[in-house]
């Protein structure tokens, strides 16, 4: 039995597995405790799913998905639901496949000689947190472990590239627009202001499913083609600059009435050439061509190679519009700028000013073109004009939270003060651990 050293005095393992366990992808990397500045390149992005295809009857676990050649009717099983690890059977299989044990290549570590820094979503149900803690120590037996809300660690990014200070940024408003949902998190000196955390339940998943539904209704049945529709969404969607422009674009993509047909604007409408999974694995978009569409319907003789195209008009901008107008599908919630203001309304005025001057957007949805411009212009209208408003997108919005966590993990004094060792857990139990991570007991 290892000596039960007091906090900080026990020798901790020299490396830390930093894990940003997202619903769509896991961001993971091994960080030596005494390392210099960790970089984005230390991070690997791994799909957090087990996928199975009924066509080739193969099962792909996590990174094996890269070997997949046929995404048709691929069914996914995701252990993380709404951002929280729910299904440990699948998650355990994925973790073991990706970085535990000695067999296999890539990221490998022996849990007994590794610290684990695991990030979670805010407002996680306590029972799920407890399950997570128990699995980490009892099943995987990590040497030491810390679990916290991921975006908090973004405040450990240096505010200027040159600064070497290890102090967290004072006021930081993180907007995490991810696969499961979009959360607004005001952070003060590395501490989350829990009362002001707000969540808009529009995320990448909802938008993919919405596009899937629209395409299935209007063109082909694609309800089983989640992977393809996600790819299409990432390739072609854009956010309208304003509600006014949205209305204009909607007009330009309208087919017109009976007897008053209009031509679709080729600047917006595109044809997405679908992959056939024989010659091609990925599709591509090209400008809309009405003649090709007629050929497809058999109104004109076919010319050239056979191909299936999916015309996309207002779907291109109506889908991401949900982030700014969730009421478009009847969801009773304000748009993202409104949610940000709702969150800030909880804070004292002085903090609010500080937060508005330092807004950082992370998460994959921020990569949709036009997102940042729309967010900034709508926020500007809501914020009093004398306040400074500074909205930036992280350099790499997907890995940004991981990088913040890695920076935190590379500073041994910071890390030592929060880690809980397995010996402490064995002595004091899961309830104590939950309280400790919630900031209660030291």
């Amino acid at each position: 039995m290892p000596p039960k050293g007091r906090k900080g005095s026990a020798a901790l393992p020299a490396k830390t597995l930093v894990l940003d366990n997202g619903a769509y992808t896991i961001k993971a990397g091994l960080i030596p405790t005494t390392s210099a500045n960790p970089t984005i390149d230390d991070c690997s992005v791994i799909p957090n799913c087990v996928a199975r295809s009924n066509r080739d009857r193969l099962t792909y676990v996590a990174s094996e998905l890269a070997e997949c050649k046929d995404f048709g009717e691929l069914a996914f099983r995701r252990p993380v639901e709404k951002g929280f690890i729910v299904n440990w059977e699948a998650e355990k299989a994925i973790w073991e496949h990706e970085f535990l044990g000695t067999a296999g290549e890539g990221l490998r570590c022996e849990p007994k000689e590794t610290n684990l820094l695991l990030t979670e979503k805010p407002n996680c149900p306590k029972e799920l947190q407890k399950n997570c803690d128990e699995i980490v120590f009892e099943q995987f037996e990590f040497a030491a472990y810390y679990r916290c809300v991921g975006p908090i660690l973004n405040s450990y990014h240096p505010s200027e590239p040159s600064s070497l200070s290890s102090l967290p940024q004072e006021c930081l408003l993180v907007i995490d627009t991810s696969y499961s949902d979009t959360t607004v998190l005001p952070i003060y000196s590395g501490q989350l202001i829990q009362l002001a955390v707000r969540r808009l339940e529009v995320g990448g998943k909802l938008m993919t499913n919405y596009l899937k539904e629209l395409s299935s209704l209007r063109h082909y049945n694609m309800m089983e083609e989640t992977y393809l529709l996600n790819e299409i969404k990432e390739a072609i969607s854009f956010v309208s600059p304003s509600a006014h422009q949205f209305a204009k674009d909607l007009d330009r993509t309208w087919k017109g009435r009976l007897g008053d047909k209009r031509t679709l604007d080729p600047d917006i409408v595109v044809d997405y050439v679908l992959p056939d999974y024989e010659q091609s694995v990925h599709g591509y978009a090209r400008p809309h061509d009405p003649a090709k569409l007629k050929m497809r319907r058999g109104l004109q003789p076919l010319q050239g190679p056979r191909e299936d195209v999916l015309p996309l008009g207002n779907e291109r901008f109506a889908v991401p519009e949900l982030l700014f107008n969730p009421t478009d599908i009847g969801m009773q919630a304000a748009g993202l700028p409104g949610v940000i203001m709702e969150s800030l309304a909880v804070l004292p005025e002085a903090l609010k000013i500080g937060m508005l001057a330092n807004i950082v957007v992370v998460g994959g949805n921020s990569l949709i073109s036009g997102f940042m411009e729309r967010l900034e212009s709508e926020l500007r209208v809501m914020v009093p004009s004398q306040y400074l408003l500074n909205v930036t997108r992280a350099d790499d919005p997907i890995k940004h939270t991981w990088l913040g966590a890695a920076r935190f993990a590379s500073q041994s004094s910071l890390l030592k003060s929060v880690l809980v060792t397995k010996a402490e857990y064995d002595e004091k139990g899961a309830t104590w651990l939950a309280k400790r991570f919630a900031g209660g007991e030291k």
Partner: protein, 257 residues
């Protein structure tokens, strides 16, 4: 042998079986709940639905659709996990790994647990839980009531926070006006209260409803996504024109759903 006689009176006894009740004439409970006659529905206290209000059927359809759009895993497609994994090491781990629950079960559990803590008001941990559960009302109802943006942080928040810390009540007068302030002007007590408050429950951190004075809800054609300027007469869904109306009736009309 005394003679017992039940006299009809205005109060009904709780005896099982049957009882005397006074006939007072009109009884709302005997009126049909779903009158076929629309004129009678209009005359009812609630009145007819407004132009923009949705019927119960439409609301259910929307709620169901949103749940469908937000779902992570399809219960119909079960993807088995490859079996060449290590076995659970402890009883606890085995139990957790074998859970087949979905997120909604955990969230329902959380809600039920919160309800349980709240209901008996005198409870060892009740003092902590009550301000948390009342969070929705505090932000939604009392925030508009605070005079302007220039007022200090909502008083309810400070009161709630100091309850956690057992501090003495915050003196509101000390608070400096925020306009020319830096962060240092936020009182340390207030700041501590903000930072030490426990996390909200999942449901409580949900974004609030859209502002009442904001732009009106936009309606789109159910079929093509253009503006939904007309309504299907059978189910009330919006469509853009005759062409889409025909397509809608052929496929998605809720009338017979």
């Amino acid at each position: 042998m005394p003679h017992v006689e039940l006299l009809p009176n205005s109060s009904s006894s709780a005896a099982p079986g049957w009882t005397y009740v006074v006939d007072t004439g009109y009884d709302p409970s005997k009126i049909a709940i779903n009158p076929k006659n629309k004129k009678r529905a209009a005359a009812q206290p609630g009145g007819r639905r407004g132009e923009s209000e949705l019927s119960a059927r439409q609301q259910t359809a929307i709620a169901r659709r949103i749940v469908e759009l937000q779902r992570d895993n399809d219960p119909k497609q079960s993807v088995p996990v490859p079996s060449h994994n290590s076995i659970p090491k402890t009883q606890n781990a085995r139990r957790i790994i074998q859970y087949q629950r979905q997120i909604k079960h955990w969230l329902d559990d959380e809600e039920a647990l919160l309800q349980q803590i709240i209901t008996p008001r005198i409870n060892p941990i009740g003092g902590r839980a009550i301000p948390q559960s009342l969070r929705r009302p505090t932000t939604n109802n009392s925030l508009p009531a605070t005079p302007s943006e220039a007022s200090p942080a909502p008083a309810t928040l400070i009161a709630g926070g100091s309850a956690y810390n057992n501090d003495k009540p915050v003196e509101h007068d000390i608070y400096t006006p925020p306009m020319n302030s830096s962060i240092s002007s936020v009182g340390p007590t207030e700041l501590r209260a903000l930072l030490s408050s426990p996390p909200l429950s999942y449901a409580a951190s949900h974004a609030g409803p859209p502002p009442a004075h904001g732009p009106r809800q936009r309606h789109f054609c159910d079929n093509c996504g253009y503006w939904g300027s007309m309504r299907c007469l059978k189910c009330g869904t919006r469509v853009c024109g005759l062409e889409c109306k025909d397509a809608h009736e052929a496929t998605r009309c809720l009338k017979w759903a």
